[in-house]
Amino acid sequence: MLAKNSDVMVGVGLRHPHFADILTQSKQVDFVEVHSENFFGQGGAALSMLTQVRDKYPVSLHSTSMGLGSVQNIPMSYLERLKKLTQHIDPFLMSEHACFTWGQQQGQLIHSGDLLPIAHTQHNLTVMCEQIDRVQSFLGRQLIIENVSAYVQFAESYLSEAEFLAQLCRRTGAKILLDINNIAVNSLNFEGGNIQQSVSDYIDELPVDSVAQIHVAGCSAPLPGELVIDDHACPVSDNVWLGYEQALTRFGAIPTLIEWDNELPEWSVLVNEANKARDIAHAVSARKNT
C-alpha cells in the first residue's frame, strides 16, 4: 500500500540496474532518489530514462560532489549543470552532505573523490553557510543537508555535528537530511557503539521542525579491529530500524529513503525494505494517536 496524505512517504535509491523494473512494474514506492551527478551528461539514455521515471514518480536529487563545507568555492561549471538538471527534472527534494570535497594540490583545484568530514567550528559554520546561501540563491531551491559518516575526527571540533547542523539551518533556511545509518557508523567507530544512545543524543539536539528527509541503510560488518565502512551494501540493521523509530517519534512523518548502492539486490528486496519502513511509520503514528 502506498502512502496516503497523512502517512510517511517512503522511497528508494534508484540505480541504473533497476530502471527497467521501476518503469515496467506497478507503483510500489512513493518516490525515488538519484545521484545528481550521474545525470549531468548532455542528453543520452540515462537522462531519458530518468525523465520517464519522473513522469511516474516524484524524484529527489541527491548530490554527492558539491562539497558545501569546502573552503574552496564550488565551481560554477558544476552548479550550472546541477541547475540545468533541476530545471529539467523539477525534483521535490534536493540534498547534499555536510562535508568538503574541493581542495588544492600543487596549486590546482582538485576534487577529493570522497565525502570528507569537516571540523565542527564556528569558522567552518560560517564557510558552509556562505556556500549554502550561494547555492540556494543560484538554484532558487532549498537544500537539505545530510550528516555524514566519517573515518577520522578533527581535534579542532568543539560543536557536535547536530548542533552544527541546527545552527546551519537557522542561518540559511536549509533543512536537515537525517541519515540514521551514518549516526550508527560514527557511534560504532568513535562513540563506543551504543547506537540507541547516540541516535537519541543526536536527535534531541535538533529542532523538531528542522528535519525534511530521513535516510536508512545497511553496511557490512567490519573485520575484527577495523572501522565500520558505510558501504550501503546490506539490508538495514535492526539497530538502525530502532533509531528510525526514535526519529519518527520525534520528528513525525518525514519522507524516508532506503539507500542501497553496492551489491545491489533485486528490485523486490528494495521494495520489501520500503515496506518495513512504512510498517514502522504506521506503528509510530498509531502510538502517537492513542
Partner: protein
C-alpha cells in the same frame, strides 16, 4: 575562495587532511593529527574510484595495467 585570516590559512585542517590522504605514506597521529586506520579507508576509496573511472573511460588501458593498480 572564501577569505581566511593568515593563521587560519596556516592551520587549514581541510588542506591538512587532503595532503595526508594524497601524499603521506604512513600517517601517525602525533604528526598529522589523524588516525592511520581512517586515512587508509579514504586512500583505498580514492584508488578504487580512480580504477573505476579508468575502467569506464579507457577499458583497454585498464585491462593492460590493472595488475599494477593494486589497492593500497
Amino acid at each position: 575562495m572564501i577569505e581566511l585570516s593568515s593563521s587560519e590559512h596556516a592551520d587549514n585542517e581541510q588542506q591538512r587532511l587532503l595532503d595526508v590522504i594524497w601524499h603521506d605514506e604512513s600517517p601517525v597521529r602525533d604528526k598529522s593529527g589523524f588516525e592511520a586506520q581512517g586515512i587508509d579507508i579514504y586512500r583505498r576509496n580514492l584508488l578504487a574510484n580512480a580504477q573505476r573511472a579508468l575502467s569506464i573511460s579507457f577499458p583497454t588501458v585498464f585491462q593492460r595495467f590493472s595488475n599494477y593498480l593494486t589497492v593500497m
